[in-house]
């Protein structure tokens, strides 16, 4: 096992370096599909199950603590959770709710970081959404 591991890691290390650089530059080859760039199509709207007017009068966490418990816990223990950045601040409310918000939502508070992002990827690719670690 150790030999394969070492081999994988050695190859992997070299490959990773190469791979990372081409991922960042987002090279296009003939016949390949278009990749992750900042010009790709917009954010994804949510398909929230329909709620009555009365049901909408509930904070997101009331249901989502049960429905998406791992996301709730990730958020609760993250900087956003401790500083009470609530779901609707990123995801909006029913009239315009995003499953995946546009990066411009992050820019409201994180204008400096968003404008100076060296990669073409959206924030959460590296700063995992809801836990927001990794920088």
């Amino acid at each position: 096992m150790k030999k394969i591991c070492a081999a994988i890691l050695a190859v992997g290390a070299v490959v990773l370096l190469v791979a990372c650089s081409s991922a960042v530059t987002g090279g296009k080859k003939d016949g390949a599909q278009s990749g992750p760039t900042s010009e790709s199509a917009g954010p994804i709207l949510a398909q929230h199950p329909p709620m009555s007017a009365q049901e909408k009068l509930r904070p997101c966490v009331e249901c989502h603590k049960e429905v998406t418990p791992e996301i709730y816990t990730q958020w609760y223990n993250s900087r956003h959770g401790i500083d009470i950045v609530k779901c609707y601040q990123c995801h909006g409310t029913y009239e315009q709710m995003y499953k995946v918000p546009p990066v411009s939502q992050c820019a409201i508070c994180h204008a400096g970081e968003t404008m100076n992002n060296p990669s073409a990827q959206p924030c959460w690719d590296c700063h995992l959404e809801h836990t927001f670690k990794g920088h």
Binding site: K29, S38, K86, I108
Partner: protein, 800 residues
């Protein structure tokens, strides 16, 4: 569902492999760094709390479309809370007041009238009141959310023009005790340091504050300091309730409401007993005082007064989870840290002994020398965005004058009269009615005409029912200027539509003595106008009605100035250049030009433009940081406490006894009732209640009940609970949560609905010194009424 962590890792693996051979995988998470589409971005200050976040409003085709933070601002560093992110949504709301509305009697519906008519009516009614009942039958009740220019001009016309000191504002209900505490402990109002101390602090003492919800963006800095230095930084949270703020605490001290005075005296006891005090600092800079006549005593006497507050005795008084060991640990952390920062808000201020509670916090800092050095400060958190700048500094309370002067001092009255170019003697020598007395005077028909600006006392006063009844009487003429219908416009005769934030230009001064400007970015809807224009036009008509040219003199420097920019600028220039010159809040360097060029603003004192452009005074009283510490220096010590209220130029350590709340639980009303805010809503919800995201997050007020009490009462989550005090009853849905301690209920106060308006039942006893009411503690009883009910959120509409 969005990407789980495992999916993410698998995706990374695939993408990495694919990139190696030049295959670009389809990217299913569509993203674009779309800028919110705006034509321009206009920089200003947030409209809501006292943190003073700087933000930019995105404007497209003359309409507000977005808000985003200013990354370089030293208050918020670009961050915003949900209220700061979303308040642009109310600006074009269909319920905005757009035309003046009038009714002669309060049982009639409102009808639309022109501005000319409206201002004529306002002038005539006030003039009639003066003629029939005297100058002191008129009053102005303003707000810590008014621009400084507005508060300053209103109080100028009231004092110099109508010759009454009946000038008050809602900061009387929140910050008056903090003012009293600063004046009696330090000799000068407002904190010595500011926010910059957070990043240098190693012990933070948060008492009587849920800053995670009430000052979220400032809390972010506290949270960050703790998370970045988890072992070095100690956070003590003292609160009868476990709140979201308690999450970051190393120690949570849960004491019976009202016993915080005993707790802090016990900490002082430990500091003295274990000789953790800074003898040199005390010798150089402090004296001990006791009693009404501020008799000077010595350390031995002070120590003797603390004998009944040994940790063991105090733990008994405090109950809750307080142990003698915890008190000792807290005191040791406080005294020995490299820099200790205290922060507090309404839990300390809204108390019958609010000034004393403030004094005891300051005591701890003075005893241990935790002042004037980086990371050490006694920082009162201000609730409203301009309670400091407009009301405390601009002369917006019945006993003070602009520039931190007091009505009672004849020399200072004359200084103000000279600056205004009016005869000596115009400003009456005695203070006017403080807020609770003012509304009592309305009830007693002593006040016959009152102008209420940008606040809603018909919901925000404690024990509000009798005061609201008084306001509904036809014996008092009420002018209400605001942006939306509120519970208070329901009591008005005349409603004047005002321009909102970013629809007019003006300055706000936040918690940390920093004045920051917000320019006009969009037009106000309909015929709404800036308040400064209303005051000027009203004053001109008053002068005619009363045949009193001095009233005209009060607005003479502001004639022919257009209301959006030139008029407030002229007012600000007069206030800063003439009224703050040489005072401890010297703002002469903070001209509009200077303020407009900065990402944030200027901390006073800032006597020159060059100094103002650096940001101003970071640490008051400290030579090298505060230019007035140089000019006012009397010796060569590094700290100079030149505050105007202490002629001996010393910090005063006050011996104060523990006294409980005004109304403690008893056999009939066995539970404590406390109230407070939540993060999504601002005050009476007249603004935030009209933003769907915020309303849905907290559509009504809840009452938090401890699980043990809930079990005893048979209450389950969302059950309807009736809360009754000697003053009335309300019904609220319950949250069963390990929040308030056993024997205590905690209700949110933002709801406008009659059934859920908690201020109907809270106590209006007030601090004898500061006159600030004790919203935070009273006695109640509670019972379960029913299971969950489908409730409707409620916002006032016009002509209901």
């Amino acid at each position: 569902m969005s990407l789980t962590r495992r999916d993410f890792i698998k995706r990374s693996a695939a993408m990495t492999a694919a990139s190696y051979v030049g295959i670009n995988l389809p990217f299913t998470h569509q993203n674009a760094a779309q800028a919110a589409d705006a034509d321009t971005w206009v920089r200003g200050t947030c409209r809501l709390c006292g943190v003073g976040c700087r933000l930019e409003m995105g404007v497209r085709n003359g309409r507000p479309v977005a808000l985003r933070g200013v990354p370089k601002a030293r208050t918020n560093y670009g961050y915003l809370c949900m209220k700061g992110m979303l308040f642009y949504k109310i600006m074009q709301h269909p319920e905005r007041l757009k035309v003046p509305l009038y009714r002669a009697r309060k049982d009639q519906p409102f009808r639309e009238i022109s501005w000319d008519e409206a201002l004529d009516i306002a002038a005539k009614e006030f003039a009639d009141a003066v003629r029939k009942y005297g100058n002191d039958s008129t009053a102005y009740y303003g707000s810590g959310q008014c621009l400084t220019e507005e508060t300053y001009l209103f109080q100028k016309v009231m004092r110099g023009g109508l010759k009454t000191n009946n000038v008050e504002g809602n900061p009387r209900l929140c910050m008056a005790s903090a003012v009293g505490g600063y004046l009696t402990s330090f000799g000068a109002d407002e904190p010595i340091g500011g926010y910059a101390n957070v990043e240098r602090s190693y012990c933070m003492f948060i008492i009587g504050s849920n800053m995670a919800e009430a000052h979220p963006v400032f809390f972010r800095r506290v949270m960050r300091q703790k998370l970045d230095n988890p072992d070095k930084v100690k956070i003590i949270n003292a609160d009868p309730r476990i709140s979201p703020t308690s999450r970051i605490a190393d120690m949570h001290m849960q004491f019976r409401p009202g016993t915080d005075l005993a707790l802090m005296n016990a900490m002082a006891y430990v500091i003295i007993d274990e000789e953790l005090y800074d003898q040199k600092f005390i010798d150089d800079y402090a004296v001990f005082r006791v009693g009404k006549d501020a008799k000077q005593v010595d350390l031995a006497s002070f120590k003797a007064d603390l004998e009944e507050y040994s940790p063991e005795k105090a733990a008994k008084i405090c109950g809750g989870n307080i142990t003698a060991d915890d008190i000792r640990t807290a005191a040791r952390w406080f005294a020995t840290s490299q820099g200790t920062l205290s922060m507090w808000c309404m839990g300390i201020n809204q108390r019958k002994q609010g000034v004393w509670a403030n004094n005891l916090i300051h005591n701890l800092h003075i005893l241990t020398g935790q002042l004037c050095k980086p990371g050490a400060d006694s920082l009162s958190l201000t609730g409203q965005p301009n309670a400091c700048g407009g009301v405390r500094e601009g002369g917006g309370l019945c006993h003070i004058l602009p520039g931190h002067r007091v009505v009672a001092n004849e020399k200072q009255r004359n200084q103000v009269e000279d600056a205004w170019g009016i005869p000596h003697g115009r400003i009456p020598p005695k203070p006017g009615y403080h807020t609770m007395a003012m509304f009592e005077a309305v009830n007693e028909k002593k006040i016959r005409a009152i102008w209420i600006n940008c606040t809603s006392p018909a919901q925000s006063l404690p024990n509000v029912t009798p005061y609201r009844k008084g306001m509904q009487s036809d014996d008092v003429f009420i002018v209400c200027s605001d942006i939306f219908p509120t519970k208070t416009t329901e009591c008005a005769n005349l409603i004047l539509p005002t321009a909102f934030h970013f629809e007019k230009t003006g300055v706000y001064g936040c918690t940390e003595r920093r004045s920051q400007i917000t320019p006009k970015a969009v037009d106000a809807p309909g015929e709404a106008m800036p308040e400064v224009w209303m005051v000027r036009e009203w004053a001109l008509r008053l002068a005619k009605e009363l045949n009193d040219p001095v009233i005209k003199q009060c607005v003479a420097p502001f004639m022919d100035k257009e209301p959006d920019y030139e008029l407030p600028k002229a007012i600000w220039d007069e206030y800063t250049q003439k009224l703050t010159k040489g005072r401890d809040n010297d703002l002469r360097g903070a001209t509009y030009e200077v303020l407009e060029s900065m990402d944030d603003g200027v901390q006073w004192p800032a006597p020159t433009k060059e100094f103002a452009l650096t940001g101003g005074t970071v640490m008051k009283f400290v030579r090298g940081s505060d230019p007035m510490a140089e000019t006012e220096a009397k010796d060569d010590k590094p700290y100079q406490f030149y505050g105007p209220a202490h002629p001996d130029r010393k910090l005063w350590i006050w011996s104060r006894p523990y006294v409980g709340a005004g109304e403690e639980p008893d056999a009939d009303y066995p539970l404590y009732l406390s109230t407070g805010r939540i993060i999504d809503h601002w005050h009476t919800t007249s603004m935030t209640g009209r933003i769907p995201e915020l309303m849905r997050a907290n559509p009504y007020s809840y009452v938090e009940i401890n699980p043990k009490d809930a079990a005893r009462m048979g209450v389950r989550p969302n059950d309807m609970v009736e809360i009754e005090t000697r003053r009335g009853k309300v019904e609220m849905p319950a949250k069963v949560v390990e929040g308030p301690m056993e024997g205590m209920l905690f209700a949110y106060w933002h709801d406008m609905d009659e059934d859920r308006m908690i201020n109907k039942v809270v106590n209006d006893a007030y601090d004898p010194g500061s006159k600030e009411p004790e919203f935070k503690i009273c006695a109640c009883r509670a019972r379960r009424i029913s299971g969950p009910k489908a409730l409707k959120p409620y916002i006032t509409r016009l002509n209901e």
